[in-house]
Amino acid sequence: MLVIRRRAGEAIVLPDGIEIHVLDISGSRVKLGVVAPAQVAVVRKEAVEARRQNLAAAASPLPNALTAWAQAYRDGSEQVRSED
């Protein structure tokens, strides 16, 4: 990984007209400004993981076992309640 030290107000430049500006540093947080062409999607890395997980979830077929799992869960929580 390339490591570059920058201060607030400074920036780095990537190809294709992309610039990343350090706008503000406060405590453990840094505020970044990104200049990029409109077709370049800029998202937080966590959103990429959320997207990947959502795509897999949406493609999950409705399992035949769902009714059985639901019943087993309800029976189990019933048992916990009766043991209280």
Binding site: A50, N54, P63, A70, A72
Partner: protein, 149 residues
């Protein structure tokens, strides 16, 4: 009343007041901005988020409290603005904000629940949002051991 043809629940008739509006959609499904929460007797505690934009798009969900009774979802200022509720931590047991974990169900092995990006439904404002838990160690694929095919 409006209705929609869905892949798994057939023709669904609903009232506008039942719709949850997701101003930003869901990650990867930004075009789906309206969902219904579907609950079926016999399938509880499972529930479903059915897209109104796409009849074939639905997510199988569990209330997060079913997976972890102590679970709480952090709502930051951006989330709070979209949900029209105050920012803060929302325990998964409160009645006014439903905290759901989206399930991924593989062909083999246990299903997993996404506790890193829970879906919050604010019942008073009828807004919904998938709230990424930035800085949290909550897993995006938390194995649910009692859901094994």
């Amino acid at each position: 009343m409006p209705s929609i043809h869905t892949a798994e629940f057939g023709q669904l008739t609903y009232e506008e007041s039942q719709v949850f509006v997701f101003p930003d959609g869901l990650h990867g499904f930004e075009g789906s901005k309206e969902f219904l929460l579907i609950q079926r007797e016999g399938l509880a505690p499972f529930c479903f988020l059915q897209s109104l934009a796409e009849g074939a798009l639905r997510f199988i969900c569990l209330p997060a409290r079913v997976i972890d009774p102590a679970y709480a979802a952090a709502v930051d200022t951006e989330d709070a603005g979209e949900l029209q509720i105050p920012a803060g931590n929302y325990a998964a047991v409160r009645p006014d904000v439903v905290v759901l974990a989206i399930l991924t169900i593989p062909d083999e092995g246990p299903a997993t629940a996404n506790l890193f990006a829970p879906v919050l439904l604010a019942t008073a404002t009828r807004r919904g949002r998938q709230c990424i838990q930035f800085g949290s160690s909550a897993p995006a694929a938390h194995a649910v051991p009692w859901m094994v095919a």
